[in-house]
């Protein structure tokens, strides 16, 4: 109804405007505009001229794109085959040095051979920017695939060729892509000469550069590798978290901090990340603080804390989980039910049985799952409810008791 009112009002306004135009001298302006449009803007001669210009433009563009395509294809093919050839050579030369027994390393023969290879590299490849880039890329690739002695030899070669200078210079490049690549390179080869500069990049506004810098700091900084978690202003996306977690997994476990120290962070994504890390590295000491987080204002944090308490089988958290359940959102309720199944005792069975009979099928099914997780007594409840008269309950129980699923 309201809409109709607006339409009438709009039509009325249009009418008033039109009348105003036609009854005043604006009538002339209207006519002049129309004449201008028909004589100038839409005149056939002009349109033909415009189209002819556009036609020439499109023909030139077509030929331009065609040539771009063919030239790009030729250049790409040539570059690819050159890169392939040069990298094959690098591989041959580098593997000659790295594939020797550790005992042979200090022999004069090996030193001579290494010297020969290095002289060869210097005279033939390192004077070209392109080859230098390929060499850097290839050393990094090989370094990724080897560890121990071979990786150390590759790192030394990289340093002896002073390739790190290029990477450190690139840390100040205006393009974030170049900066991030340089950070990645220095981190891969464990070169901490530019740690201060890299640390500064951990709060950069570009998320990829920020992530690369944080990953680099984790491996390069021996004093306080996790300090960046205190300064994070941006949200840690799940993608960011997965990458950080992967980098943390490469570190020595005994050097890891207690992640619960970030449970009180103002940044919710840091709290979520810390909870996940506490679980990933079995930091059972964080259970009391996890219990406290069940009262957090963010439902995401409540859900994550509940999940981890479940994984930790924190029996003592049963009461707090029950309390959190009452005010939780639907999604979080499901997480709490599973947590109760994992960490709950027989005392929780009446509550779970009650939830099994709920109208909400998702809650009922998850409560059933929780009962199954509790063990024999929980399974007994499912057996008893197999013949329930409530609509979905027998199906849920049958599903959960079918061990083939």
């Amino acid at each position: 109804m309201n809409k109709i009112k607006y339409y009438i009002l709009f039509a009325f306004s249009l009418g008033v405007c039109f009348n105003a135009f036609s009854q005043t001298e604006s009538k002339d302006i209207f006519k002049q505009t129309k004449d201008f449009a028909s004589q100038f803007l839409f005149s056939t001669e002009l349109l033909i001229r415009v189209c002819a210009v556009l036609l020439i433009l499109f023909i030139i563009l077509f030929i331009g794109f065609f040539l771009t395509l063919m030239i790009a294809r030729t250049i790409h093919r040539r570059n690819d085959s050159y890169e392939k050839r040069i990298k094959e050579k690098f591989e041959l030369l580098l593997t000659g040095i790295i594939f020797i027994d550790e005992g042979e390393m200090e022999t004069r023969e090996w030193r001579n051979s290494k010297q020969r290879v290095m002289t060869h590299f210097r005279s033939k490849y390192l004077n070209s920017k392109k080859n230098k880039k390929f060499l850097r890329e290839h050393i990094i690739l090989m370094h990724k695939n080897f560890n121990g002695f071979a990786a150390e030899v590759l790192r030394n070669l990289y340093l002896e060729f002073r390739l790190q200078k290029g990477a450190i210079r690139e840390l100040n490049a205006p393009d974030w892509g170049i900066q991030a690549m340089a950070v990645k390179e220095l981190a891969q080869l464990n070169i901490d000469a530019a740690l201060k500069q890299i640390k500064r990049l951990t709060t950069h506004e570009n998320e990829i550069l920020r992530l690369e810098a944080q990953i680099a700091v984790l491996s390069l900084d021996k004093v306080e590798p996790f300090a960046f978690l205190n300064k994070i202003k941006f949200q840690l996306t799940n993608w960011h978290q997965v990458n950080l977690a992967n980098a943390i997994r490469q570190l020595e476990t005994d050097k890891l901090p207690q992640f619960s120290q970030w449970f009180s962070s103002n940044n919710d994504s840091v709290v979520l990340f810390s909870i996940k890390m506490a679980q990933l590295f079995d930091q059972f000491e964080s259970i009391p603080l996890l219990v406290k987080l069940l009262e957090h204002k963010s439902q995401k944090i409540v859900g994550e804390s509940a999940r981890v308490l479940g994984v930790f089988m924190a029996n003592d958290a049963q009461e707090n989980l029950l309390k959190a359940f009452r005010n939780a959102e639907h999604e979080v309720k499901l997480k709490i039910l599973i947590a109760l199944g994992k960490c709950g005792t027989d005392e929780i069975i009446p509550f779970l049985s009650q939830q099994l009979l709920q109208n909400d099928a998702e809650i009922a099914f998850t409560a059933g799952k929780a009962l199954k997780l509790i063990g024999f007594s929980g399974r007994d409840v499912l057996e008893q409810n197999k013949n329930s008269i409530l609509f979905d309950v027998p199906n849920i129980c049958n599903h959960l008791l079918d061990d083939r699923i």
Partner: protein
């Protein structure tokens, strides 16, 4: 009087053509920027991190199958080899009349289990859910149900799915092994709530395929699928990339899409009343999010993730295009409330009107324009010089846009390696506006007529199959 009328009509058509051309140029510019940014970003991505991380989201892959007995075992094997850890593969047998179900039971040692199905979205009766007794296939779930069409089968799969994300695919497509990893990433990296992602669909005709995997990529030998290669590259690299950048994407191809299961369920799942269920679902999900004042994003990724067999004769292609047009009309009609409705933001004022004017209306305007031109000739009212200049301008504009999409392809994925293949594609795009495009206009027009007549079927989509055997597929699954 007649002169004035003709002049006005000419101007209207001319203005329409100008706006459509400007729209394509703008889309090309947006796409270039988006593609460049994506390629640069992707240099730093290690998808193995998703593969090995316990923090990655869980995915249910749903593939409906109808009368696929000849290929189903191979197709499932191919799906089981997809790289993703936390995944379940749900095959929905949509009441096949052949031995599809038995073939699966025999090959994968399936047993009927007491599976609880929470019917959250409407679908026909599920006759049984099967799991394999062989632990090697523990990710596999097979659903046997009454025939109800593709939307119904997908809804059944959604009801059975246990994981947070669902990916809906055509069972006869060849999915890249890393496809799920790439599609999951936007769900993990965006601050905004990502509700759906889609990737590039490519044409697999003439490609070398072994054990359900793509071994060698080639340009199709036949001209009809080759036309479609040019069309797909243009549509995916030039169009959808730009719409994704603008967060105005309306369509995620039914061949492969990843969705937030909770949002799909809250929206009511796939719609049965349309033959364009893929587009309709995306529009409904977007509308739902806006109505509920929730921030969201639909993301498209330019990686080629899925390879499909394109129709290689005009008869089947005509049916496909007819259906696509009917699907577009149905979706636009169901969601007409969005049209120029500022409440829906970009969706209402740009995406929807673009589809309305340039996807639905364009073939009609084009056809009527042709009739009008014939009428003008018959009354001796034609300016041949203008006609020829305009004709060649439009022609060169069309092929310039097409070759630009090949330039994008060259600077991004370079799927076709040989010079000769590029030359073949250039030859095809030069012919396309003259041979192929008029037909697509006609098929779209027929789609409009069939819609008015009330036609609702998918049409028989016979495919030769990658192993050169004929596979009949009535629901188009």
């Amino acid at each position: 009087m007649l002169h004035n009328f003709i002049e006005t009509l000419n101007n209207v058509i001319f203005f329409y053509a100008i706006t459509i051309s400007i729209a394509y140029v703008l889309l090309a510019i947006f796409s270039a920027r988006a593609l460049n940014h994506y390629m640069k970003k992707n240099k730093f991505v290690d998808y193995n991190n998703i593969l090995t991380s316990p923090l990655s989201p869980s995915v249910s892959l749903i593939a409906p199958a109808y009368n696929e007995e000849k290929n189903i075992v191979e197709n499932i094997r191919s799906l089981l080899s997809v790289h993703y850890n936390n995944i379940e593969i749900i095959i929905v047998n949509d009441g096949s009349k052949d031995n599809t179900m038995q073939a699966m039971i025999d090959a994968y040692h399936l047993q009927k289990v007491d599976y609880y199905v929470n019917n959250q979205v409407p679908c026909k009766e599920i006759l049984g859910v099967y799991k394999s007794s062989n632990k090697a296939f523990k990710k596999l779930v097979v659903v046997d149900k009454e025939n109800g069409g593709k939307s119904d089968a997908l809804n059944a799969g959604i009801n059975v799915a246990e994981n947070e994300l669902i990916t809906c695919i055509d069972v006869d497509c060849i999915v890249e092994q890393g496809a799920i990893l790439k599609m999951v990433k936007p769900f993990m990296e965006e601050d905004k709530n990502v509700i759906a992602t889609g990737g590039v669909i490519r044409i697999a005709n003439s490609c070398v395929i072994e054990d359900g995997r793509l071994i060698d990529i080639k340009v199709p030998e036949k001209i009809i699928p080759r036309f479609q290669v040019v069309e797909y590259i243009r549509a995916f690299l030039l169009g959808r990339m730009a719409w994704s950048k603008l967060n105005g994407l309306l369509l995620i191809s039914g061949a492969l899409g990843l969705f937030d299961k909770r949002i799909v369920i809250e929206c009511g799942g796939y719609e049965h009343k349309t033959v364009g269920e893929d587009m309709e679902l995306v529009v409904r999900m977007r509308r739902y999010m806006t109505d509920n004042k929730r921030k969201y994003k639909v993301v498209y990724i330019p990686d080629p993730l899925c390879w499909t067999e394109a129709p290689d004769d005009y008869k089947i292609l005509a049916r496909q295009r007819n259906r696509w047009m009917r699907g577009t009309i149905e979706t636009l009609w169901f969601h007409r409330k969005i049209f120029f409705n500022p409440k829906y933001g970009l969706l209402g004022v740009l995406s929807y009107p673009f589809w309305f004017f340039y996807e639905w209306l364009a073939p009609i305007v084009e056809f009527l324009g042709l009739l009008y031109f014939i009428f003008l000739i018959s009354i001796g009212y034609s300016n041949w010089v203008f006609f020829l200049v305009l004709f060649f301008t439009v022609y060169f504009f069309a092929i310039t846009i097409s070759i630009l999409s090949l330039v994008y392809e060259e600077f991004s994925y370079r799927q076709y390696k040989k010079h000769s293949e590029i030359l073949k594609l250039i030859g095809t795009l030069v012919l396309e506006p003259l041979i192929y495009h008029p037909r697509t206009v006609w098929w779209s027009l027929r789609g409009n007529i069939d819609k008015i007549r009330g036609r609702k079927s998918w049409g028989d989509m016979s495919r030769k199959g990658f192993d050169k055997k004929i596979v009949k597929n009535e629901t188009g699954n």
